[in-house]
Symmetry: C2
């Protein structure tokens, strides 16, 4: 019932993850009531980001430069590559300041159900990177899901020929986690990997 | 950790109702993976809507024209005015095709807590509209909340001097609703307003 331009905004907003037609309508009303302070700045920021942000051809990260700032940063260990599913995972690890090497974004997980095979992911380029002399270790940081772990196994197999150590993130009790709320798989892994204190 | 332009999109997206920092991040990744098909069209649609959509000076509805299409539509009864809280309510009533008169958007509800008084709402202009010869009935369609009903009472009082009938939406069992899941207030209202069959 809204006028054409508003309808189009609603239709496009509803495509964002976590938003449906109803929340998109609420969003549009919210935006229209803040035309100068929110709607126009958002329009400009979207256009600017779409224009300026590129995908790093080395690691797959998003940045205004290619290679990205992380790949260019000489203070980061070029011998360590952390393999992640998507750019959001790079952001998560960078927020935690948990890693001082470089990244490789493969862009998803292997999934027979969704028809995603190895050729759809940036795995060839990872194997090529791992084969250079300076790389000593590849850390597989896929999500701890079935598809994520399948993908990690596949990559570990593919890297068997390269002369690099391959590791994965530790499983265990999340910091702040209560045992009573954890699933059996996590508890089993945490017990198996117990460490002396 | 993302580059400047992406950070700005994230920051602005997080201001939409129902989105927080985490879902805004997911939204940005989703947009970046669909730059041509979603991100740029959304930027354009937002800018176009912000430019083209105006607020109808008669009723407060959003449209590309002022007066809006509803106010200009000669097939709609000019004697009937439906008073709603915001434009989303106009859209809801129009989707239901429940009303063939015109609207008046007051732009909120009276709220002592939020410091919203009668002068912050489009009530003067409603009283002026109701005072013209052609208007015969004003339907108060505020939300059935405490603030909504307080506002409806206030408007009914203000319209006492104008020679118009003042009505409100019926309360009762929603179509498809099950008695067992309804609150006592709704059941009491539905019983009080029971109709012969």
């Amino acid at each position: 019932m809204a006028a054409g331009d508003l309808d189009r905004v609603m239709h496009l907003l509803a495509k964002l993850p976590g938003l449906g037609p109803r929340s998109a309508r609420r969003g549009v009303l919210h935006l229209m009531q803040r035309r100068e302070s929110l709607m126009l700045p958002l329009a400009e920021a979207l256009a600017a980001a779409a224009r300026s942000i590129r995908t790093c051809r080395t690691c797959g990260n998003f940045d205004t430069t290619d290679p990205c700032a992380i790949c260019q940063d000489v203070r980061r260990d070029p011998g360590l590559i952390c393999v992640v599913e998507d750019v959001g995972d790079v952001w998560a690890l960078e927020r935690a300041a948990a890693f001082k090497g470089r990244y490789h974004v493969i862009g998803g997980v292997l999934s027979a159900l969704d028809g995603v095979g190895p050729e759809d992911l940036n795995i060839e380029s990872l194997v090529a990177r791992a084969d250079t002399a300076e790389v000593t270790e590849v850390v597989l940081a896929m999500n701890a899901t079935v598809d994520g772990q399948t993908t990690a196994h596949y990559i570990a197999d593919r890297l068997a020929g390269a002369h690099v150590a391959v590791s994965r993130l530790a499983h265990g009790v999340p910091v702040g986690g209560e045992l009573d709320y954890l699933d059996d798989g996590t508890l089993t892994q945490a017990m198996k990997a117990r460490q002396s204190v």
